[in-house]
């Protein structure tokens, strides 16, 4: 099994295929702090891609309540348990060494434990390429089961019931985790497929299942640690998030050939999502692209972190961690970069504040931004730290270099008249 370099782990690791990287990579940043689980993203995806017979249980995009929820149920608890067992069997500990942080190759230090690929090799039964399990029908069936209770209309059109939920309540901290396929650099689904039916597109790194080659063995379902490939019983093949690739290719007439963000991203009400493409070198490293907002958030400011990097697939979804959650929980979920990310988000720099204003400012993908400095509008001590805010203007440019968005840190506000149903 060849060695490949995983920058999120700061080291080389085993992977069934030799390194071969796309020219650019589909990636996204979610700001968990702002999500209220309105599920608009979930329904945008559902109504676009998985509304047909046999797809009823499929939610390529889902939002689950952590630490309780999961779709499929307990997916991450199960995976972490399997990984723990594998470490225990060989007498190793799954630890990070943040002291080995160094530059772009090791921004979070070095992970000393086993990835899901290495753990699968360490076992006696080597029937898997990556450590995993196939969820039961029961586990797939109820997204958000016992997490949050929806509120109905009480048979009166356009009138919401204001009765509170009566399900068991979570008497503690919690937060919402938005999930879709991470279009990983080293996808476990791709490596697990005995048919070679899963491939990573060279132009944008999107991971797709060739529906013609797939025979529905479900190895991808069992071995993707994030549980995002799903089996469709009516066609007997597996399906997964396709990253709305016609939009990424700029095929939607609305954007005049400019790449457009996916349906789930563009629909986000809370302005928590930003998606784009990052440039990748032949060695798999992110090429310096200082004014690409994703490059800035992930590689420069390091405010957005990968989900369960210890699994080893180098996921391309990044999260700004929620400020209020106990750190050990967040460190398990996002790795050792959590403290730095939260510190930087809590007291955002002038540039970060401007880049945050780009979230959901346009449906078109922002490839580059420029900041026009504005006046200082705010200065005071926040939580014991002196902090200033500037009303800078950030300008976003499309792939072809056209200006697509211009927004200031202090946005002008338009109050929607209350005659509209969705005014609150």
């Amino acid at each position: 099994m060849p060695d490949v370099f995983n920058w999120q782990l700061g080291r080389k690791m085993n992977y069934p295929y030799a390194e071969k990287h796309p020219r650019s990579q589909f990636a996204f940043v979610f700001n968990i702090n702002r999500c209220i689980a309105c599920q608009t993203c979930t329904m945008a995806c559902k109504s676009t891609w998985t509304f047909s017979k046999g797809q009823e249980y499929m939610w390529w995009n889902n939002v689950e309540t952590k630490p309780y929820g999961g779709y499929p149920q307990s997916w991450d608890v199960r995976l972490l348990g399997l990984l723990d067992d594998a470490h225990r069997k060989v007498g190793r500990a799954a630890q990070w060494d943040p002291n080995q942080r160094a530059g772009a190759d090791r921004p979070y230090g070095v992970y000393d434990g086993m990835t899901i690929f290495e753990a699968a090799r360490s076992g006696e039964k080597r029937d898997q390429v990556a450590l995993g399990y196939e969820p039961t029908d029961q586990e797939w069936r109820f997204p958000n089961f016992y997490e949050d209770a929806a509120t109905g209309s009480e048979n009166v059109p356009d009138k919401l019931s204001m009765k509170p939920a009566t399900l068991p309540a979570h008497g503690t901290w919690f937060f919402y985790l938005q999930r879709l396929c991470n279009h990983c650099t080293y996808p476990a689904c791709l490596s697990a497929c005995p048919r070679g039916a899963i491939y990573k597109r060279p132009e944008d790194g999107i991971v797709l299942i060739d529906q013609g080659r797939c025979r529905g063995y479900r190895k991808c379902v069992g071995q993707c640690p994030y549980k995002k490939p799903m089996f469709r019983a009516t066609t007997r093949v597996s399906e997964k998030c396709i990253a709305c690739y016609p939009r990424i290719e700029g095929k939607d007439p609305l954007t005049e050939n400019e790449p457009m963000e996916t349906r789930c991203m563009a629909a986000c009400v809370g302005k928590i999502r930003l998606q784009g493409l990052v440039k990748i070198g032949d060695d798999g490293k992110w090429l310096e692209d200082r004014y690409n907002p994703l490059y800035y958030l992930v590689r420069v400011e390091k405010v957005a972190l990968p989900l369960y990097p210890q699994f080893g697939t180098e996921p391309n979804g990044y999260y700004i961690p929620p400020r209020w959650v106990p750190r050990p929980y967040l460190q398990q979920m996002f790795g050792p970069g959590v403290d730095e990310a939260i510190e930087k988000y809590t007291y955002p720099s002038r540039e970060l504040l401007a880049v945050l204003a780009l979230f959901r400012a346009s449906q078109k993908i922002v490839f580059r931004y420029e900041i026009i400095e504005g006046p200082k509008i705010f200065e005071r001590t926040i939580n014991g730290k002196k902090w200033s805010m500037y009303n800078d203007t950030i300008v976003g440019f499309s792939k072809s270099g056209k200006e697509i968005v211009r927004v200031s840190v202090e946005e002008p506000k338009y109050v929607r008249p209350d005659k509209h149903y969705n005014s609150i």
Partner: protein, 88 residues
């Protein structure tokens, strides 16, 4: 506090967890939306409506007065009129 039962298929439902600061969680959520430009009334609606389970849970647990005071406190923290140095 209910202890987790490993043979319970819903073992994580309604189980309290150690650590964490509910007041800080409420403050962070208020701050996020206040800084997006929401009015006090809009913020209160976010807590009162059961559709928004996270904020509504805080509303049910702590009550209307707590949320009103929270919004006022966070508004004061970020209000330009009350800042140390005033507008530059």
């Amino acid at each position: 506090m209910k202890q987790p039962q490993l043979n319970d298929p819903h073992e994580l439902i309604g189980v309290g967890l150690p650590d964490g600061d509910g007041d800080y969680m409420a403050e962070c959520l208020t701050e996020e939306y206040l800084l997006l430009g929401w009015s006090d009334q809009q913020l209160m609606t976010l807590f009162m409506r059961p559709c928004f389970s996270m904020t509504h849970r805080i509303y049910l647990d702590r009550g209307h007065d707590y949320v009103a005071a929270l919004i006022a406190r966070v508004r004061g923290k970020w209000s330009a009129n009350e800042m140390d140095g005033g507008y530059a």
